[in-house]
């Protein structure tokens, strides 16, 4: 049944977006997670990647969540001598999480998720029409 295949492709897309949402929420939750030892590294932002693969069973290109990567680079610092993570100069490394970027990413994931859901709903209606032919 080809309609069920379409639904499964869209479900794969929804699963990938849900995984992205999980990574984004992890970032937002850890936006203030500094180290607890002097001069230690704070939380490093995680970035989800998407991977296209050809599903032999569905005979279609589906999408999956690829490996979650962590962009390398220097952290920004903040002056706070009393913080447990402060180094000799009194500077504390803060996570490279920008809540504005994360919020944008979240919106994007939501939009994509809704689009996939829309495909599922539409395909289900078409399937229902096919079944209704029996009643004719």
């Amino acid at each position: 049944m080809d309609f069920l295949r379409s639904i499964r492709i869209a479900t794969g897309g929804m699963r990938a977006q849900a995984g992205r949402m999980r990574v984004v929420s992890e970032n937002i939750a850890n936006a203030n997670s500094t180290a607890d030892t002097a001069g230690g590294d704070p939380y490093r932002r995680k970035v989800p990647t998407f991977r296209t693969s050809f599903d032999r069973e569905l005979q279609a290109t589906t999408v999956q969540l690829g490996p979650v990567r962590q962009p390398q680079g220097e952290f920004q610092t903040r002056f706070d001598p009393n913080h447990p993570a402060a180094d000799a100069r009194g500077m504390v490394k803060v996570p490279n999480v920008n809540s504005l970027v994360e919020a944008m990413d979240m919106r994007e994931a939501q939009r994509s998720y809704e689009a996939n859901l829309n495909v599922v709903t539409s395909t289900r209606r078409m399937l229902q029409r096919t079944i209704d032919l029996l009643k004719a």
Binding site: R5, I9, T52, V63, E108, S122, R129, T130, L133
Partner: protein, 134 residues
Amino acid sequence: MAAADIPIFSMLRDRMRWHQDRQKLLAENVANAETPGYRARDLRSPSFDELVQGNAGSGIGTLRTNERHITGSVQGGSRFQVRRDTGVVTTPDGNRVNLEDEMLKVAQNQMDYQAVTGLYQRSLGLIRTALGKR
């Protein structure tokens, strides 16, 4: 005589299959809306001639020049011609899916499908009337 032997039914069935295949491609496009380098695809709509002659979507097959040859066909793939969308905006990561366009196509596909199934039902009703069941 099966219902499929009546030209109108075979035509409508071909059209329904076309919509089914198109829905699958559109689902792929939407699912890959954010995959870098992915290009949107769509089905070429069958021409009137193809529908009337009933060879819409003969697809890719092997040519038999000897009757002892085995016929082959591409398995699983669509019987209809797939084309890549052109003239859409490409994002910096090489993705060529316009989510709004795809949503519009999904809605259109669904409505057209409803029209076709409606026609199918009406045609069945006609036959029923001819049989005197109403």
